[in-house]
C-alpha cells in the first residue's frame, strides 16, 4: 500500500495484467511515442504519460503505437479481441469516438449476440473524458451515456485512484467489451492504493458516505464533489449517502433503490449533457420502482444543454459545482409532500 495518483493506478493495472497474461496488448496514438523519431523512444506514454515505461518492459510487439487512424486501430482491437488477444486500446479523448464509433457499437458490442453467443470480445477501450481543462468543445465531453445506451458494451467510470486500478484490472479480465472512462481532471489525485493486483466487480456500487437524510448518486469526478458536499452538510447535522455506481452498465439499481427507500430524497449528479443521460436514467428508475418512497421530487444536477465552452468563466459555469449540489440537497430536504 502506498499513495499513488490516478495516473499511476491506471498504469499499474496495465503493468500487472501485461505481466500476468501475454495476450494483453496495448495500442493507441503515442502510447509509447518517438517511433521513427531521432530522439527519445517511449517519449510520451500517451497524452497523460499513463503508458510510459510499458514499451521498454514489454516491447513494441505488445505496446503498439498507431497512425492517427482510430477507425482502423479501434476496429483492429475489436477484431483481435474476437480472435484471441485481449487488447487495451486507447482512444485519446472520447470526443474522437466520432471517427471510429461504428467499430465499437456495430461491431465489438454486437458480436456475441449476433453470433448466437459463439463469440467473446475481451476488448478494453480506455478514454479520457470530462471538462475542466479549458480544452473546449471537442476535447471535454462526457459521452458515457451514449455508450451506456448500447447493449453489449460495459461502461466504467473510476472516481479515484483506488477505483481506477481495481476496475481496470477487472475490465481487462472481463470477456465483454468495456469502455473505461478516465476523467482528465483526476489524473493527479492521490490516495492509498495497494501495490498488488486486485479487482473491483462491475455492477456493485460503492457507498462513499452513509447517512439517512438524502441520497446523492454521482459519477466519475462528480463523486469527489458529492463527497465534499456530504462532508460539509455533515457539519450541519445532515447525513447523506453518496453512491458511486462505478459502472453505468451494468448498473447497481438495488443500491440506489435501497438507499432511496431509506432516505426518500434523491439528488443525481451527472457531468454528461442533461438529455438522455445517467441522471434521467436514474430518475426514471426511481420513479418506476420507488415512487412511493419519495418525499421530494428528484433533483438532477447536470451541465446545461450546450457544448462545453472554452473560456474559463464559461467552463466554470458549465460544470456542476459542489455549491449547486449542496443547494439541491438542501432543496430536497426542504420539500414538503
Amino acid at each position: 500500500m502506498s499513495r499513488k495518483t490516478y495516473r499511476q493506478a491506471v498504469s499499474e493495472a496495465l503493468r500487472h495484467e501485461m505481466r500476468r497474461d501475454l495476450r494483453v496488448v496495448i495500442m493507441g496514438e503515442d502510447v509509447s511515442g518517438g517511433l521513427g523519431a531521432p530522439g527519445e523512444q517511449d517519449a510520451w506514454g500517451g497524452p497523460q504519460g499513463v503508458t510510459k515505461g510499458l514499451m521498454p518492459e514489454f516491447g513494441r510487439g505488445r505496446v503498439l503505437d498507431t497512425p492517427i487512424s482510430e477507425s482502423a486501430f479501434i476496429g483492429a482491437a475489436a477484431g483481435a479481441a474476437a480472435t484471441g488477444l485481449r487488447p487495451v486500446a486507447e482512444l485519446m479523448f472520447v470526443d474522437f469516438m466520432g471517427v471510429c464509433f461504428d467499430q465499437i457499437f456495430n461491431q465489438a458490442a454486437k458480436f456475441r449476440y449476433m453470433f448466437g453467443g459463439r463469440a467473446v470480445t475481451p476488448l478494453v477501450i480506455r478514454t479520457q473524458y470530462g471538462a475542466g481543462l479549458r480544452a473546449a468543445s471537442q476535447h471535454s465531453q462526457s459521452l458515457y451515456p451514449i455508450f451506456t445506451h448500447i447493449p453489449g458494451l460495459k461502461v466504467v467510470l473510476p472516481s479515484s485512484a483506488y477505483e481506477a486500478k481495481g476496475l481496470l484490472i477487472q475490465a481487462i479480465r472481463d470477456d465483454d467489451p468495456v469502455v473505461f472512462f478516465e476523467h482528465k481532471a483526476l489524473y493527479d489525485d492521490e490516495e492509498e492504493v495497494p501495490d498488488e493486483a486486485y479487482t473491483i466487480p462491475f455492477g456493485e456500487a460503492n457507498l462513499t458516505r452513509e447517512g439517512s437524510d438524502a441520497t446523492i448518486v454521482a459519477f466519475g469526478r462528480m463523486v469527489k464533489f458529492a463527497n465534499q458536499v456530504a462532508d460539509s452538510l455533515e457539519q450541519d447535522g445532515i447525513g447523506c449517502t453518496v453512491i458511486d455506481p462505478r459502472t453505468t452498465s451494468p448498473l447497481d439499481s438495488d443500491a440506489i433503490l435501497d438507499s432511496v427507500a431509506e432516505t426518500g430524497r434523491l439528488v443525481v449528479v451527472d457531468e454528461a449533457s442533461p438529455r438522455c443521460n445517467m441522471a434521467t436514467d436514474i430518475a426514471a428508475l426511481v420513479a418506476e420502482h420507488a415512487f412511493g418512497a419519495l418525499k421530494a421530487p428528484v433533483r438532477m444536477i447536470t451541465p446545461p444543454h450546450t457544448p462545453v465552452p472554452f473560456a474559463p468563466e464559461l467552463e466554470d459555469a458549465y460544470i456542476p459545482s459542489p455549491a449547486r449540489i449542496e443547494e439541491a440537497v438542501r432543496g430536497v430536504l426542504a420539500a414538503k409532500r
Partner: protein, 321 residues
C-alpha cells in the same frame, strides 16, 4: 509566377505576423496566462501564406489544431484572434472556441479543428457549394502528415475526384504527428497515394514561399477552371513541440536550433527579395517593426478585454429552440 511589389510586401507581412504571433503566444503561455491547448505554427509560415495568397474572400479553407497561421494568412483579424486565445467575449469566437476552434466564416476560414481529419470532408462540402452555386470559389483543406492517415482524409480524396470538386488538399508534413515520425506512420508516398485516387500531386519545399506559392497557384487555378481536385505535399518543419507543454524529447539533439538557423522561410524570403532587389531592406525592416507593434497591441488589448459572463454559456447553441 511573377509577384508584384505589393504582393511581396503582403507575403512578408503575413509570414512575419504569423511568426511574431506564435513567438509571443509561446511566451504568454509559458507565463501561465493562456488557458487551454495551444499548438504553434512557427516555422511553417510559407505554407499557409503561399497557399492563401492565391485565394480570395470567396474561397474557403479548413484548418487543423495548428490553426493560427492559416487564420492569419486567410485574413482573420489578429487582435480578435489574440482575444480569443485569452478567452475574451471580444474574441473571434466570443471566447467559446479558443485556439483549437478559431474561425471566421466571413473570411472563408472554416475553422481550426480539434479533430484530426475533420477538415477534408468539410472542404468537399465547401467545394460542392462553390460548384453548385457557380461562385467560382475554391476550397482548400490543410491536413497534417498525421491527419493524412485518417480515413476521412482518404475518403475525401476519392469524393472530391468522383464529384469533380474544386478542392485542393494541402498535406503539411512537418515530420511528426505528436511524437511519432511521419516517416514511420505514413505508409507509401504521399504523391503516389494521391495519384492512386486520381489526384494530380506535387511535392514542394515548405521553407520556400515561392515554391509553395507557385505550386498552390497551379492547383488552385486548375480547380477554379473546372479541372478538379489535386494535392500538394508540403515538406516543412515546426519549431515548437507538438503543443505548449510538450517537452519534445523525441526530437534529435540540436534539431530545433539547426532548423531555426538553416530552415527559416522568413530568412530565406528576406534574402531572396533583398538580394534580387525586389524589395528594399528598409521596407522589410519597416514591416518587422509594424508587426511587432501590432502583436504588442494585440496582447495588451487581449489582457484587459472583457470576459464572458456565465449567462453566455447558454447562447448560440441553436438559432431558435
Amino acid at each position: 509566377m511573377q509577384l508584384s511589389r505589393d504582393q511581396l510586401l503582403r507575403a512578408y507581412r503575413d509570414m512575419a505576423t504569423i511568426r511574431a504571433f506564435e513567438e509571443r503566444v509561446h511566451v504568454e503561455f509559458a507565463a501561465g496566462v493562456l488557458p487551454g491547448f495551444v499548438h504553434l505554427y512557427a516555422g511553417e509560415e510559407a505554407s499557409a501564406v503561399g497557399v492563401c495568397m492565391n485565394l480570395g474572400d470567396g474561397d474557403v479553407i479548413a484548418s487543423t489544431h495548428r490553426g493560427h497561421g492559416h487564420c492569419i494568412a486567410k485574413g482573420c483579424d489578429v487582435k480578435a484572434m489574440m482575444k480569443e486565445l485569452y478567452g475574451s467575449v471580444e474574441g473571434l469566437c466570443r471566447g467559446k472556441g479558443g485556439s483549437m476552434h478559431i474561425a471566421d466564416l466571413s473570411r472563408g476560414m472554416l475553422g481550426a479543428n480539434g479533430i484530426v481529419g475533420g477538415g477534408p470532408p468539410l472542404i468537399c462540402g465547401a467545394a460542392l457549394s462553390a460548384k453548385v452555386m457557380k461562385t467560382g470559389g475554391v476550397a482548400v483543406a490543410f491536413v497534417g502528415d498525421g491527419g493524412s492517415n485518417q480515413g476521412t482524409t482518404l475518403e475525401s480524396f476519392n469524393l472530391a475526384r468522383v464529384w469533380e470538386l474544386p478542392a485542393v488538399f494541402v498535406i503539411e508534413d512537418n515530420g511528426y504527428a505528436e511524437s511519432t515520425a511521419s516517416s514511420w506512420a505514413v505508409g507509401g508516398d504521399q504523391l503516389k497515394r494521391a495519384e492512386g485516387f486520381g489526384l494530380p500531386a506535387r511535392r514542394v519545399d515548405g521553407h520556400d514561399f515561392f515554391d509553395v506559392h507557385d505550386a498552390a497557384g497551379e492547383a488552385i487555378t486548375r480547380a477554379r477552371s473546372g479541372g478538379g481536385p489535386s494535392l500538394l505535399h508540403v515538406v516543412l518543419d515546426r519549431y515548437y513541440s507538438h503543443f505548449e507543454g510538450d517537452a519534445g524529447t523525441y526530437r534529435g539533439p540540436g534539431e530545433v536550433d539547426r532548423l531555426r538557423a538553416e530552415k527559416d522561410c522568413l530568412k530565406r524570403f528576406r534574402k531572396r527579395v533583398i538580394e534580387s532587389a525586389l524589395l528594399g531592406k528598409d521596407q522589410v525592416d519597416t514591416i518587422d517593426r509594424e508587426v511587432a507593434a501590432l502583436i504588442e497591441t494585440s496582447v495588451r488589448e487581449a489582457r484587459t478585454a472583457a470576459k464572458p459572463s456565465a449567462a453566455d454559456v447558454l447562447t448560440d447553441v441553436y438559432l431558435s429552440y
